[in-house]
Structure formats: C-alpha cells, structure tokens
Symmetry: C2
Subunit: 332 residues, 2 copies
C-alpha cells in the first residue's frame, strides 16, 4: 500500500507540522510536541476545558476538532496508538481555565490508562471528569454498552460539550451533557478495504476482492459478519436497521445523521448512502436535522463508511446547532 | 474495485439526490435534473452569473462549489463525461441575472463543445463569455498553455470570479478576473493508484505495486513519467520545482498553495506534503497565504495528490480573501 510519506518514524510529527502550518487556529505545544491547543488560548477564559486525545491516523479526528465551541486541547499518539501520559497531562493543563477539565475520548484501553493516570497526577491542581465515547454498536451488545468502542460519533459529544462549556456551564453540567450525548449516539461501520500502518509491511487486515465486513472498528477490529459486497441501499438498510433497533430510551423524533468516510471512500458514495439512510430514518417518523456527510473520522486509506445517529432532545439539539469553528467543522 | 453504489446507471442521480438532501443551500433543477443552483436564487440579484460544469466523479468539483461568492449554477455530466448541451443551457439560464453569464470550466473537448453550443443557442437571450481552466502543467508545455487541461486549480478562478461578481462588476470585468486567475494558477498531480468508473469492469489504468505516475490527469490521462514510489519530500520537491519553473510573468511574491487529495489519499499524507511544499515556496521568498489542504477535486477513489499554486496580485489577492460560502469552502 503506497503512502506519501518520508520516514515512518516522522509520520506523526511531520503531519502535525503541516496541520498547524496550514491552520493557524491550531497551535502545537507541550514538551512532547504531541498536543494541539486553540490559538485563541482558552485558558484565559475562565470556562470549563474540554480535552480529547487518541492515536494518529484518524484525521480530522481527534486533533482537527480543536476550536471554539469544540475541544480546547487534544493529545495525539502515534498511528493507532494512544497518546502518552505526558501529552495527556499537557493537554489537560492547556485546557484548564480554572473551572476544571472534561476528558472526553474513545473507549480504548491504552487511552483510558493514560488519561486516568494524567488525571490522577494533576488531581491536586485541576479537577477533571471523564466521559468515554462508546458509540460503536458492533463492538458489544446493548446490555454491555459501556464496553463499546468509541468511533466517529464522538464528534457529536465534542460539539455539545464544547458548546455548553462556552456558555459558562460548570464542569458537572458539561460532563452530564457529554455523557447524555454519548448515550444518545449510535454508530456502525462497514469496511471495503484495509489500511496499513506506516512502516508496517502489510495491511491491518485482508478482505477478498468482493468481500466487505460489517461492523469493523476503525483500527480493523473484527465486525459482525464478512460477506460479499451488496448494493449501497442494502448496506444502508442493514446499518440503519441495526442503529434503530439499538436506539436509546426516550430517543424522540429528531436525529442528526453522520455519514462518514473511513478514508478512501469518496463523497459520491457517501451521498448515495446518505440518500437512503435519510429516507429510512424519515420513514420511521424521525425528522433529520443537521446532517453531516464527509471525512470526519478516518482510518487513513481504509475504504468504507460509518453511519451515526444522534437522537436529539431539547437540551442537546440547540447545543448541536450553536456556533462552532474548527478547520473541519463550522456551524454558524 | 469495490464501490458503495446501486445500479451504475443511477450513480449520478442518486449522488445528486444525496448531495442536495444533505445541503439545502444547493438546489437541483432543470428538466435534465443535472443542474445545481444556489438556493438563494441569484437570478434575482442583477449580478453577473458564474457557471461551471463537468463530469461527475470529482466531488467537491464541480457542483460542490455552488454558493455565495462562488458559482451560481453548475451542469453535471455522467461520471467522467461532459454535461449535456441541455444541462449547460439550463445552468446558464439559472445563473442569468440580466448582466450576462461567465462560462468557467475545464479545458476538455466535450465540455467545450457543449458549453459553446449552449452559449450559441442562448445568444439572443443572454450574453455569455468563456474562460477555460488550463492549470495542469503536465498536459502541455508552457508555449502551449492554452492546450492544457483544467484540474483542481480551477477552484481559484471560481473564487475570484464569484467574489468579483458579488461586487456588481460587469461581465467583461468578471471574465478578465477569471482569466487572470487561470493565467496565474499552476497545478501538477501525482497518482499512486487508479480509480474505476461505476459499471466498468476494470480500473481506468494500472500502476504496479510500487509505481507512481507524475503528472497524471484527473481521468487517468498520461503524465510525465512512471517510476517507483519515492519519499513525500522528493515528490513534493519535484512538483514544486516544476510549478516554480513554470511560474507566470509577474508572478510576484505571494501565493496560495492547494494540496488536494485525488480521493483515497488521506489528510495525514496531504499535511506531510504541504509541510514540504510550503517550506520550498517560502525558501523562494514567496509568502504563502490562504493555504488549502484537503479533498477539493478528486477522481473518486484514486490515490494521489495534486499541488496548485496561485500567484496573487493586488487585485486577485483580496478577491481570494473575501467571503464565500458553499458546503466545501467557506471564507469569512
């Protein structure tokens, strides 16, 4: 699998160098060099900080969502590896405005361990809380929802928690909004072809020429089934069926749909999927608001897509609609 | 090559259905159903209209750039095929606000023939002018610049012509700005892997496992050389060298850089390329302003990237910086 890169060892740092050079609203900081913070320096604003972090290889996730009304800072690991404790500490410190910091990241063992340790090491200095993204319905059953992995749907929690923090809400309230958003978000992905970690000599998994995998994770974690490619409508139908069957209590009748490319899948195919997903959700009597279709959480050059639903209520609906600004997601 | 689609015959119409459903600022119209216009209906504004068009398979190009300060309407053909005369006529009519319409599209035979015919058929009704995108330096030498193909760099002309039209400038002035922008834009692409037209049983070209092609066009048109993959810096260096060697007279010392994914190439790799491209351009004493890094003009799932330079002057610099709004490019 061909990549436009130099030494694999420099992949992440060179990527961050380019990302920040192209986007002056993002500033790279910390002794580790593995933290991105807002250029407008939210530390001085006396608001709750919202921090995320995760492995590289998922742009715009995670660092791309640093900006007003979203994240204040983000720690970043090597490709498909969690961020170090040091970078998590630095990210929390950079996001701290004296009102505490929400740690909001995907449910992966390495990320949890390092963010937990960072929180403990800072506990005399900065009050922190934790909300884990657990939106991937393919990764565990509904009775084990807390064990699910976090995937693309976490951006909805960035949005609502970030918007609420901007209003001056306190840490417990911001944390509750993030948790409620995660609780009301459901995602499932489908992979068509693999990706390859820079420096590795083989792809992270193999799919046969006409094979797809339903429910695969964003690092190639096993999904629900592997079988032959079928029509976009059949795939969208199964994904929407699974999402709706898993809908949260009190889901209500308004939802946002996120149709996300895992990397190589082009916009054309995403719009074909979205067209069907929207029709199916509407047919359930659910109003579709603020759809997102594009590259929001990728696995480098993996082909495939994920569909997420966020079931809105009167609290998180307005927070989703309120202004935010980062290089990859702007709401006015 | 696996695609998320239904019948290949429905690929374009289903894509347009999803595109417009997800983006209410874009309205699909005309008897052909192959025109996208601004929802805010620029026909009533008494300004010069700016129209483009081209084959499908390049999103966000061409239809994605319909919006305030950019295109007023766009005709769209089948995948990698020019738009029909009928859709070109409809697009021109929809963009007409009584001050004439600029036809601004890439230099391809089919597109030229149909846009020319549409202009002739409307000549008693609507005054039109033509500017052709000719930014691909790999497709003909500097002495035959008018024969070059139009690729990603055409979006710069959308931006400046669209911005100038919004100021109330007349058709000749808008046309001159578009032509000047094309004259000051240079692009070169590199392909790492092919794409495949929906319904076709084979990719549009074949590259060996470790082979790349410098200068390949966005439909797989032959490039300058085909050889083994090299480092991102070596590739960026060659692309920037070629662009700078071809720089227009009076290029000046300010430029925008566009690093564009041809489809499958992820953001991480684009930022690695951008980092080097920017350093090389700066080393020439050229200030880099308003960089663009992302998916701006694709060839479906083709892997690879293009780099464009727009050399600014005191007229087009402010037009590039002025506000615009479409689903894929917002300037405030």
């Amino acid at each position: 699998m061909k990549k436009l890169m130099n030494s694999p060892a420099d992949f992440v740092d060179e990527m961050l160098e380019g990302l920040t050079a192209a986007n002056p609203s993002l500033v790279r900081g910390g002794e580790t060099g593995r933290v991105i913070r807002r250029a407008d320096d939210s530390r001085n604003k006396g608001k709750v900080g919202v921090v995320s972090g995760g492995g590289s290889g998922h742009l715009p996730l995670f660092t791309g969502y640093v900006g007003k009304g979203l994240l204040d800072a983000c720690s970043i690991g090597n490709v498909f590896e969690g961020p170090t404790v040091g970078s998590c500490i630095e990210a929390i410190q950079m996001a701290d405005g004296g009102k505490g910091v929400l740690r909001l990241y995907g449910n992966y063992g390495g990320d949890r361990m390092n963010f937990d340790m960072a929180g403990e090491m800072l506990e005399d200095e900065i009050r922190t809380t934790t909300v884990l993204g657990t939106d991937d319905i393919a990764s565990a059953g509904p009775e084990e929802r807390k064990k699910r992995r976090g995937v693309a749907g976490i951006i909805y929690a960035y949005k609502t928690a970030g918007a609420f923090a901007e209003t001056g809400a306190d840490l417990d309230a911001v944390t509750a909004v993030a948790q409620k958003t995660v609780d009301r978000t459901r995602t499932i992905g489908v992979a068509l072809s693999p990706c390859q970690v820079p420096g590795s000599d083989k792809p992270s998994f193999i799919l046969a020429e006409n094979e797809i995998e339903m429910g695969m994770g964003i690092h190639g974690e096993p999904g629900i089934w592997r079988d032959t490619l079928r029509s976009a409508d059949a795939i969208a139908d199964e994904m929407i069926d699974r999402l709706l069957n898993d809908r949260p209590e009190g889901a209500g009748n308004r939802a946002s749909i996120l149709v996300n490319s895992l990397g190589a899948t082009p916009l054309e195919e995403l719009f074909i999927l979205y067209r069907r997903a929207r029709a199916r959700v509407q047919a359930e009597g659910i109003e579709v608001v603020q759809p997102l279709v594009g590259h929001y959480a990728t696995s480098m050059e993996m082909a495939g897509a994920s569909i997420s639903l966020l079931f809105l209520d009167d609290e998180i609906g307005p927070l989703l609609a309120s202004p935010c600004e980062c290089p990859f997601w702007t709401v006015r």
